[in-house]
């Protein structure tokens, strides 16, 4: 029997240019609980400044020299993480227990996430942790309106941090918060002037907490509010093509049919399915199975310890760009209605 591999969580800190990623990172790394964290940053845009600020924080830091952390240098990110892993195994850097990657403001977060999950070496040693997105309270609304990358960064976030709230007025912040809530109803939102709980931001992710009895409730808390409104008209303004909605399915569902459907959906429409998150009642299992995906990438499904409440139906929350809810619901129903010859549940 091979010993269980230890998966080092990888957190991504993303956010538009000037939204305070580095400041946030600096504050988080000051927390003693995160002392054994390695950091990968990218110099693009904020050359020198990032370096100057972060240089003294951690000597395991590796600077990525070539601009943008997108598809084209995915290999370089992969090489940088492999190098860190190799050095850790050889004992030439301290045994870090967490890795934080700070992306450039212009980066689409997806290729960075896919690097960790798809790389044949990395995926045996690392796993994805929370994605933290910073949003500038002063410029956030304008950036969301004009920059598709900004909207995507918000939609894929597991945690949102609203920065520079001391530089703007209450109504502006409230309007931005409401907009963020529509784009991503599930991510807990912090204001940067408040004390930051580094563990809650970085460490409390689905995989780490799945065994705890309150995990499903905490993980799915925001979706529970959304599902209450599932029957009501909660389509956003017509000029917003990115919208979130919740679907509920009675009874247990066939895992294979569901997998077949989601794989087919993501193959064709993955770029427009910004996020899918769900608690599923899978035929043949007592506890719920949590599913969590960002575009083409789906995390390994997680066994939750228990149902969050007496409601044992399957719930799925989607954040999509320009896909009608009714089509997704009808398509999934049609797949789940296929004869499944429930061999797997036998």
């Amino acid at each position: 029997m091979v010993a269980e591999p230890v998966f080092t969580p990888v957190n991504l800190i993303t956010g538009f240019l000037g939204s305070g990623k580095t400041t946030l990172l600096q504050r988080l790394l000051g927390d003693p609980a995160l002392a054994d964290t390695a950091v990968l940053i990218n110099e693009f845009g904020e050359v020198g400044l990032d370096h100057y600020l972060l240089e003294r924080i951690d000597d395991t830091m590796v600077l990525l020299q070539s601009g943008c952390l997108c598809c084209t240098i995915r290999g370089e990110l992969s090489a940088a993480i492999r190098d860190l892993h190799s050095k850790r195994e050889r004992g030439t850097v301290p045994r870090f227990r967490r890795l934080v990657v700070e992306s450039t403001g212009l980066a689409d977060p997806f290729p960075i996430l896919s690097t960790v999950q798809a790389d044949p070496v990395l995926r045996h040693h690392f796993r994805l942790g929370n994605v933290i997105t910073t949003v500038d309270a002063v410029n956030g609304m304008a950036q969301l309106a004009r920059q598709p990358e900004c909207t995507k960064q918000v939609a894929v976030a597991d945690r949102l941090v609203l920065t520079k709230t001391d530089l703007t007025d209450g109504p502006t912040t409230e309007a931005l918060t409401a907009r963020l809530r529509r784009l991503n109803p599930s991510a807990p939102l912090w204001r940067s002037e408040a004390p930051l709980d580094a563990a809650a931001l970085l460490a409390h992710d689905l995989f780490a907490t799945a065994g705890r009895s309150d995990a499903a409730r905490r993980w799915f808390a925001a979706e529970m509010a959304l599902r209450e409104r599932a029957g009501t008209h909660d389509r956003n303004r017509h000029d917003e093509t990115i919208h979130a909605f919740a679907l509920t399915f009675d009874g247990s569902l066939d895992w294979t049919l569901f997998g077949l459907w989601l794989t087919m959906l993501l193959n064709r429409h993955g770029e427009r399915v910004l996020r899918v998150k769900g608690i599923l009642n899978v035929a043949g299992t007592d506890a719920p199975v949590a599913i969590h995906g960002v575009q083409h990438l789906v995390h390994p499904p997680v066994h939750m310890a228990a149902w969050p409440d007496a409601d044992h139906r399957s719930h799925l929350v989607f954040i999509v760009d320009g896909i009608e809810r009714v089509l997704i619901e009808r398509s999934l129903q049609a797949f789940l209605g296929l004869p499944s010859r429930s061999l797997a549940a036998a």
Partner: protein, 109 residues
């Protein structure tokens, strides 16, 4: 660029997750794994037939996807199934296609 490009070595797809603590998988023991493969072929065939495609097992390690005229490709896992099907067909396989949904609904009835 999609996440699937970099997949080499197999069993990396989420529907087929490697058995480890906390992860839900139907890839546990040998019997369950073979049962799941048979089930997977049965389920996939229920959709693929609307495209004139058939899927069968190959050595319990891959799948064989074929058109009615005999064009054939090996498919490693579900992650590659639909991309390969589209390549063989030369057209998209869209689960949101209203015609497909109507036919599936009639079939599932």
């Amino acid at each position: 660029m999609c996440a699937l490009c970099g997949v080499l070595g197999g069993s990396g797809h989420w529907t087929d997750a490697a058995a480890r603590p906390g992860v839900f998988t139907r890839n546990g023991d040998g019997l369950q794994r073979r049962r799941e493969r048979a089930h997977r072929i049965a389920c996939a065939s229920g959709v693929l037939k609307f495209y004139g495609l058939t899927l069968s097992d190959w050595q319990a390690s891959s799948f064989v996807l074929s058109t009615a005229t005999g064009k054939t490709e090996l498919v490693e896992d579900l992650g590659h199934l639909w991309a390969t099907a589209e390549k063989l067909l030369g057209r998209p396989c869209d689960p949101l296609d209203p015609d497909l949904i109507v036919r599936l609904e009639a079939h599932g009835g």
